[in-house]
Every structure is written in structure tokens, then in C-alpha cells.
Amino acid sequence: MVISIVLILIVTYLACGLLFAIPFVIKGVDKIDEAANGGSIGFRIIIIPGAMVFWPLLLKKWIKQGGHKK
């Protein structure tokens, strides 16, 4: 029972992460790390799993950066 709830929470979290990851690897990543500008497609795909796990942190950085440079 408890395990089912924890599993559902984890799956929900990762699903949100996947939703976030798509715009992030297309646009957001260039904003938070300048070395990502011109980064290859392979690079963008390879960071998706990580983005699904660490998305709250990346979201925070993206919002912050958006404020600094237009």
C-alpha cells in the first residue's frame, strides 16, 4: 500500500520531468550554460534522463537566467 503510493509519486515526478525536459533541452539549456549553445543533438538527448530527475533545480536556474539576460 505505502509502496504503491510512493511508486505513484515517483512516476508522477518523473512524468513532470519528461514534460519539462523537452522544452528544456531545446531552449532552456542554452540559457543556463553557455557551452550548450551549439551543443549537438546527441548532447541534448543524453541529458534528458538527468533533466527528468533534477528538473526542479533546472527550472529554478532557467527562471533566474531568464531574468538576467533577455
Binding site: 509502496i3 504503491s4 543556463i32 550554460d33 557551452a35 551543443g39 548532447f43 541529458i47 538527468g50 533545480l57
Partner: protein
């Protein structure tokens, strides 16, 4: 480095390394499965796959964990260290096959969600002989997963080196979980003690290697430099530094690498700008000090990466008097050019002091 990110920064050496890993894994798995089919024809293919990937993963894990201390003990192991992350990702992939097939075989056949089944099919957490050892393997796999998905340099910058390194250190917890996974699992189904003994021997070897390398390191760091004059400290005799290699000295808590290149001595800060790799444990390749971890390069003459790269490390002034090497532990600004201290060839016995 100055360039944009790629998925994998392959070069010739890394390709050879990856092909070697791949060939070794393929050979290991096919041999294991063939031998199983020959001697235990009643085994299913799934069981052979689960066991072959399990043993390969734990073997690779032991290699990964020995590389650090081995290179500190003997430089011959340096080629293993370079590109270690690919070994880590390979280990994770192999373990993932083992874990996935175990889940399929033991938990996906009922109508309970396999992940629920993993934790509920056996709840004898207070028993040794019946312990749900699979949960231990699962948590180890989660740790390896986190390490594998954050292995790109992008994550090092984004998470900050400190957090990334902390995450990395969980590998020791994962190792412990794997050992318990095997120990508590094997007693449940295996009558042959070979695997048991091998894992114990492997763990003992790893602990010994880390202790030997660790004490060596501590002894080096605690060395007291007594001979001082005018800001310089006496560090060693000039013939102590092997050609194209370095000796590392820890002076006032800073590690400094003293390199010998074309019979001159150059000192630079020991810490690589990429991920803090120990430059003094690397060698000079094509005239550049090459970091043993991922191959960032620096010129001995000025501590700068050759263009187009922009990394710079602090440099230090060295002098040679007779056979004595003196080093000024006051760092010069990063990337400062200074000439090397020429080593005086003993048979000429001329005291010339090139600085």
C-alpha cells in the same frame, strides 16, 4: 573547455578504450552463456543472462574501484584511469540488464506491479538466510543510475563540482549494497561457495588497495619542508623527477606538481581546471602536461591550455642549485610564463642557475 558540448567527446584513445571494453564484455557474456549451456543444460537462457551480467557487473565494479588507488601506487595503470566514466556507464548498463531480467523473471509474471512485488513478495527483513536481497540490488542500481545520468560534463557545471562529487561518493554505499545483495542472495540458492569466496576476496583486495594508496598519500602530504631560504623551500634532488613526469609536493596545504620536460623543471598547481584532477599524476604528452582524468592539457612553460582552449593554472618558480631543487610556494597568477630551471648534468659540475 572553450568548445560546445557534444554527446561524447571521442578521440582515438577513447575509441580504442571503448572498443576494448565492448569486446571484453561481449566475450565474457558469450563465454559465460556458452559454458552454462554446455554444463547446465537445464538452465534457461534468462537464468544464464541474469548470472552472466551479474558477475560481469560486479567484476567491472571492482575494476572501477581499484583504478584510483592503483594509479597512485603505480603509473602503469594510468591508461585505465583515463575515460573511467565510460567504464562506469558500461557497468551500469550491464547491471541494468541483470536487474531488468531479474524483475521480468521473478516479478513480472504475476498481476502485481513488478516494483510493488519487488518489495512485498518477501518481507523477511529481520532474517539473514531469507533476507529480501533483491531490494539491496535495486537500491544499488538506483545509485548507479544517478551517477550514469549525471555523467556528462554539463551536469558537473550545473550541479556544481561539490554536489557532483558528493553524489559520486555514494558509489561506496552502492558497493556495500551490492556486496550484501550477493552475500545474502547467494546463501539462499547457491551451494557452491566459489562466488562467495571470490566476492570476499575482491572486497578485501579493494580495502587493502585503498588503505595502501591512502597512507602513501597522507605520508606525502604530511612531509615537512625544513630547508628554506628567501621564500624558496628545498623539495628534492633533480634526478628524483622522472623525465616527462612529475613529483607532487604539498607545501602549506597546496599541492604543487614539479614536472621535468626536456631537462628543465617546471612547477604548476596540481589541480586541473576541469574537475580537479591531479595533474602531477599525469604525464607530458606532445609537449603538454596531460591530466590523467580526462586529458585536459597545459603547457609546462606557462600553465595555459593550448589554443583554442582557455584554461589556465597557477605557475611557480623553481631553481636548481647543484643537484638540489628549490621551489617557491608563492603562486604566480594563473597562466604566468616563466622559464624552466635547467637540470645540471652531474658530469659537467658547472653551477649555472637558469631561472
Amino acid at each position: 573547455m572553450g568548445a560546445s558540448y557534444l554527446a561524447v567527446g571521442w578521440n582515438r584513445q577513447k575509441k580504442i578504450y571503448d572498443w576494448f571494453i565492448f569486446a571484453f564484455c561481449a566475450l565474457y557474456l558469450t563465454t559465460f552463456i556458452a559454458v552454462t549451456a554446455l554444463y547446465n543444460p537445464d538452465y534457461t537462457f534468462e537464468t544464464a543472462l541474469i548470472r552472466s551480467t551479474a558477475t560481469l557487473a560486479i567484476l567491472l565494479l571492482h575494476v572501477i574501484l581499484s583504478i584510483g588507488p592503483l594509479t597512485r601506487i603505480n603509473k602503469k595503470f594510468l591508461p585505465l584511469l583515463y575515460n573511467r566514466r565510460h567504464l562506469g556507464v558500461t557497468m551500469f548498463s550491464v547491471a541494468l540488464i541483470h536487474g531488468s531480467f531479474s524483475m521480468l523473471q521473478f516479478h513480472a509474471l504475476g498481476n502485481v506491479n513488478p516494483f510493488v512485488s519487488l518489495f512485498t513478495s518477501n518481507t523477511q527483513y529481520n532474517s539473514v538466510s531469507q533476507f529480501p536481497f533483491q531490494a539491496l540490488g535495486f537500491f544499488a542500481l538506483v545509485i548507479f543510475f544517478l551517477m550514469a545520468i549525471t555523467s556528462h560534463d554539463f551536469w558537473l557545471h550545473t550541479l556544481s563540482p561539490k554536489i557532483w562529487k558528493a553524489l559520486h561518493m555514494f558509489v561506496y554505499l552502492a558497493y556495500f549494497l551490492v556486496i550484501m545483495h550477493v552475500m545474502l542472495g547467494v546463501v539462499q540458492y547457491e551451494t557452491n561457495p566459489v562466488l562467495f569466496v571470490m566476492v570476499l576476496a575482491g572486497a578485501a583486495t579493494l580495502v587493502t588497495l585503498h588503505l595502501v594508496a591512502g597512507t602513501k598519500e597522507v605520508r606525502k602530504d604530511n612531509r615537512i619542508f625544513k630547508l628554506k631560504k628567501e621564500g624558496f623551500v628545498y623539495v628534492c634532488e633533480s634526478q628524483d623527477v622522472p623525465d616527462n613526469c612529475a613529483k607532487i609536493f604539498c607545501i602549506d596545504k597546496e599541492r604543487i606538481a614539479l614536472f621535468r620536460f626536456e631537462n628543465k623543471l617546471y612547477a604548476i598547481h596540481n589541480v586541473c581546471k576541469h574537475q580537479g584532477g591531479p595533474l602531477g599524476e599525469g604525464q607530458i604528452i606532445d609537449g603538454c602536461i596531460t591530466c590523467p582524468w580526462h586529458g585536459y592539457q597545459y603547457l609546462p612553460q606557462n600553465g595555459q591550455s593550448p589554443p583554442p582552449f582557455k584554461e589556465k593554472v597557477s605557475t611557480y618558480i623553481v631553481t636548481v642549485e647543484g643537484s638540489q631543487v628549490w621551489l617557491n610556494p608563492q603562486p604566480l597568477p594563473e597562466g604566468t610564463e616563466r622559464s624552466g630551471a635547467a637540470i645540471i648534468i652531474p658530469d659537467k659540475q658547472i653551477i649555472e642557475n637558469v631561472q
